[in-house]
């Protein structure tokens, strides 16, 4: 009993700390990446007693100190309670959404079966969408409570944009759900270990390439980053919804954004890139088609799976950062047109085509 609770707590703590730490590291990676892309050196001033060698470690220590020691300013005509509540509302959904994303298959340790996933809900992906839909409040409330015109503009833009892209995001994964026939992310990840025609892993990207593009676009729009950073838009409305935020509260918005990146990367990995699957790695080892089998102990397999998941998540975090420093910002009407007139109809089309193909496939005489 105690051990079971301990295992659950350990899993929750592990995932939470992974998301939070990765958010911190991404803050540094983003600065370094932007420097790399713009041919600069980037964050290199943080030094501990004149020692600036370990850029990452120094920045990771210096950043929170800097944020937390700054004055926490609340606009005098703003709303104190809501101004304080808003960063919490922004950070909370981003941190808890990762709970249903599986980071490994089941692990059998001392005749105890551990499902490497914090919470196995039968509504799985809908839970993530509902948390994503709650993350709008941080922006809207923060914008309103600041009593600032730029903030309010950012908040209005943010709420309209996130509502619009939630619909496209939800519809774009419908095809995936139809193919794997479940809402549970662990089941979806497990189903992607099957092989098509004996050699191609049944990853979502191979079965639903259009859905991947639609979902990735919508997910980037949900994280409110360039090219969809209309709620912030430094050159138009200063910093949008968090214009009036400083110190620790700004850090919470900041960390929330990076936590959303990590969650989006985890979701993309799970839905379209096999989650924790390593190609041809089964529970007892590698089964290469045409070549042969390499048996591995169970712990090694589990470590490989968790490692593969982490690598894939890191890759998609990197891809999002790369995108943010490569593209210009959309105009507001372009964002709305893209969401409602392109992503939404294309997602509906994808659902229809998938449905027709599934029915045709099931009635076809040859199945893989």
């Amino acid at each position: 009993m105690i051990v079971d609770i301990g295992i659950i707590a350990a899993k929750a703590l592990m995932v939470l700390s992974m998301v939070l730490n990765l958010a911190g590291v991404l803050g540094w990676i983003e600065r370094k990446a932007s420097a790399l892309i713009q041919d600069r050196i980037g964050a290199n001033r943080a030094s501990i007693f004149g020692f600036a060698g370990l850029g990452l470690v120094n920045t990771l220590i210096a950043d929170p100190i800097k944020f937390l020691t700054k004055e926490d300013f609340i606009p005098p005509k703003g709303d104190r309670l809501l101004h304080t509540l808003a960063p919490c509302l922004a950070l909370f959904p981003a941190l808890v959404a990762f709970a249903v994303i599986p980071f490994g298959d089941i692990l059998v340790l001392a005749d105890r079966t551990i499902n490497l996933q914090v919470a196995n809900l039968n509504v799985g992906i809908l839970y993530i969408f509902s948390m994503a839909s709650l993350s709008v409040y941080g922006i809207v409330i923060g914008a309103w409570a600041s009593n600032n015109k730029f903030s309010l503009l950012g908040g209005v833009r943010g709420s309209a944009q996130m509502i619009s892209y939630e619909i496209a995001m939800g519809l774009s994964v419908m095809g995936i759900l139809m193919i794997y026939g479940t809402l549970e992310l662990q089941e979806i990840a497990r189903a992607q270990g099957n092989l098509l025609w004996g050699w191609l892993p049944a990853w979502g990207i191979f079965l639903q390439p259009a859905a991947f593009l639609l979902f990735f676009t919508a997910a980037v729009a949900e994280t409110k980053r360039i090219p969809f950073d209309l709620p912030e838009a430094e050159s138009e409305i200063v910093a949008g919804y968090h214009v009036e935020y400083s110190g620790g509260k700004f850090l919470m918005f900041f960390a929330g954004e990076f936590a959303e990146i990590v969650t989006a990367a985890g979701l993309i990995t799970t839905l379209f890139f096999g989650g924790w699957q390593v190609p041809f790695l089964m529970r007892d080892g590698f089964h290469f088609p045409w070549v042969g089998t390499l048996f591995l102990p169970q712990l090694v397999v589990a470590l490989l799976q968790v490692g593969a998941f982490t690598l894939k998540v890191l890759f998609f975090c990197w891809l999002q950062i790369l995108l943010r420093w490569s593209l210009p910002r959309f105009r507001y009407d372009q964002v709305m047109r893209l969401g409602w007139k392109m992503l939404l109809p294309l997602a509906l089309l994808n659902v229809m085509v998938t449905a027709v193909l599934i029915v045709a496939w099931q009635s076809a005489p040859l199945k893989p």
Partner: protein, 161 residues
Amino acid sequence: MILFLILAGLSIVFSLLVVFQRNVIYSAMALVATLFLIAVLFLTLEAAMVGILQILVYAGAIMVLFLFVIMLLNPGLLEGRSIAWWILGSLAAVLLLFVLVPFLSDSGRLLPGQAPAGGSFGSPESLAQSLFTDFVLPFEIASVLLLVAIVGAVVLAKREV
């Protein structure tokens, strides 16, 4: 049981806050909190699907649109209502209570925490099963109704002024 009492108490407090707040934004946020707490109540009753849909649709989408409109119009504090308003409102509330009482007293007398439902009850599969087989006609009629509403909204918005 304790969990139920805490959740129910909190949701009653927040729903009262919805009505008694002068500030519209506070009212809206209290309504969000109420809906969220009711969703958690559904979760404790093994109805994860209904609970999550409650958050997704009501707390996450409809209330955001409420806030959007409130922010666009940006009304000030509401002035106190007159006595007539309070009397009418209380009357309506009492009438609603009379409608609800028979249902409440007849609902099988199950205490929360003793939900007999188990197995696949409330799972997405069983929900879809009943929605798309037994109740497919009402489901389709409801979707046509929504379509009519959308078309009507577009027509109204596009009208030359």
